[in-house]
Amino acid sequence: MTEQPFKLLHLPAVALRNVLQFLNPFDLFELSQCSQKATYIIPLSGSRKFKLVVNASPLSISVNDHVFHIGYNRSPPPSWFLKRTWKFMDSTVRVVYLSRQQLISYWDDRFVGLKTVFFHLSKIFNCAIESAKFYSIPAVIYMSIIDFISSRQSEIKELFVGGENLTDTNVTEIFERLRVTDHLSMCHRFSMPPPSISLNSKSMFIWNSGWITTEHLNSMKNGIVIHLDHSTLTDDKMTLFLNDWKSGQFPNLQYLYIQSTFLSKTFTPLGLPPLQDTVNPQFHMKTILGVEKFIY
């Protein structure tokens, strides 16, 4: 059969779905650019089950294993790459294929680009946002992305909290709107300990954890991994926590790392001698939630 034009949209729904399932996210996106009708059929491809991840480093959005990078307009693409002109929301931009699974779109403002591409892809594929791993982006952009996510879903698997100039109110709002189920990473430092925020993810990395009180610690009952840096926990509070753990209140906990300058030098967990041999240190690796960790 030679390649002659045919009416794709006239195919029966099952056949049309089969055709779309053979296309990768880039081809589906290209198809969505053809017309409004073509845009509407994209979810038939099963795109609702796609995994959409927003990344900060490099600034990009992944749909399954296909990556939409965001680049600066001032850096022209090499001439030998495949070029396209695509429309994201109301912006028409240059797009260059870097490989079969990576392309880059060029923007005057990369953060606006990230937001626009993210909004557009979410709408086209109509899939849940699995992970938002970005920080060091302006709070306005960060919060508008959070607004968008929370308008579509109440849970997210993975979230990094830490936009530039995020206020305490912003961060409290994020926790009110989104439940982080699997992995929470946070570098925001609260000026005052927030009254109650939900810290019940499986894995929690809190880099500036000076605001974490025993109350917050007690809310981490689901935690498999708890990592607190720059904590202000004292010997008494640590002992309280460890006693709770000993009594079985943290049944899933496999890895605990608490770094605090408020702990005395003589502090030992539950009065036991230090587990780490400081003279002849022996490191053991254990894979917890897919990540290798040193344990003692």
Binding site: L8, L9, L11, P12, L20, L23, D27, R84
Partner: protein, 203 residues
């Protein structure tokens, strides 16, 4: 000859849109989930009517089924590069119209393997194409064409509206002329009936 038996020796008669009938083996026919659901257990009394499809299309579809009778059970889509020489010839000798008819028939008969291969071929025509190329392949109107179409439709709608308004005006005039005697007649009848009823109930 038709029979509910599931032996591969059994032949079934298939009727096409032209009213023609032809034989298909039970083994080939059983690749159709539609057939399995409708006739496998109860059998068919007379030719099985697949009269939405022409003879050429149905023969092509069952030619594929006859060929793949001995192939292992279908387990998801195969990459086009894995197709046998026979499969490739089968697809290559079809023209565009026949190809679309085969997809439609295969889709109706729910023959997973054939539908899947056909769809993979269409997907291949789209893969790696840019928007303009895709629009050509799938014969979608371009933005300019859509705009022009919309303008024509708007003009048509405006013209239709004018006609409708004129018609309504004329109808209104006619109604006011005709309505009066009818209303009067109804009222007179009502009055007569009321009087009759009152006199009857007084008696």
């Amino acid at each position: 000859m038709t029979s509910p038996a599931s032996s591969s020796e059994v032949k079934y008669l298939i009727e096409s849109s032209e009213g023609n009938t032809f034989d298909v083996s039970g083994a080939a026919l059983r690749q159709s989930n539609t057939f399995n659901a409708m006739f496998l257990n109860i059998g068919a009394d007379g030719p099985i009517p697949f009269t939405d499809y022409n003879e050429a299309t149905l023969k092509k579809v069952f030619e594929y089924c006859e060929h793949s009778v001995n192939e292992e059970n279908y387990s998801g889509p195969k990459h086009q590069d894995d197709l046998s020489k026979w499969d490739l010839n089968f697809f290559n000798e079809m023209d565009q119209k026949m190809f679309i008819d085969v997809i439609n028939a295969s889709n109706f008969l729910d023959i997973e393997r054939l539908t899947s291969y056909c769809c993979e071929r269409i997907a291949r025509m789209l893969r790696g194409k840019n928007t303009q190329e895709m629009i050509k392949v799938i014969t979608l109107p371009t933005a300019e064409e859509l705009e022009a179409k919309q303008k024509v439709e708007e003009k048509k709608a405006a013209a239709a509206k004018k006609v409708a308004e004129k018609a309504a005006e004329t109808a209104e005039k006619t109604e006011t002329l005709e309505e009066l005697p009818v209303q009067q007649l109804v009222q007179t009848t009502r009055n007569k009936l009321t009087r009759k009823y009152l006199s009857f109930s007084n008696e």
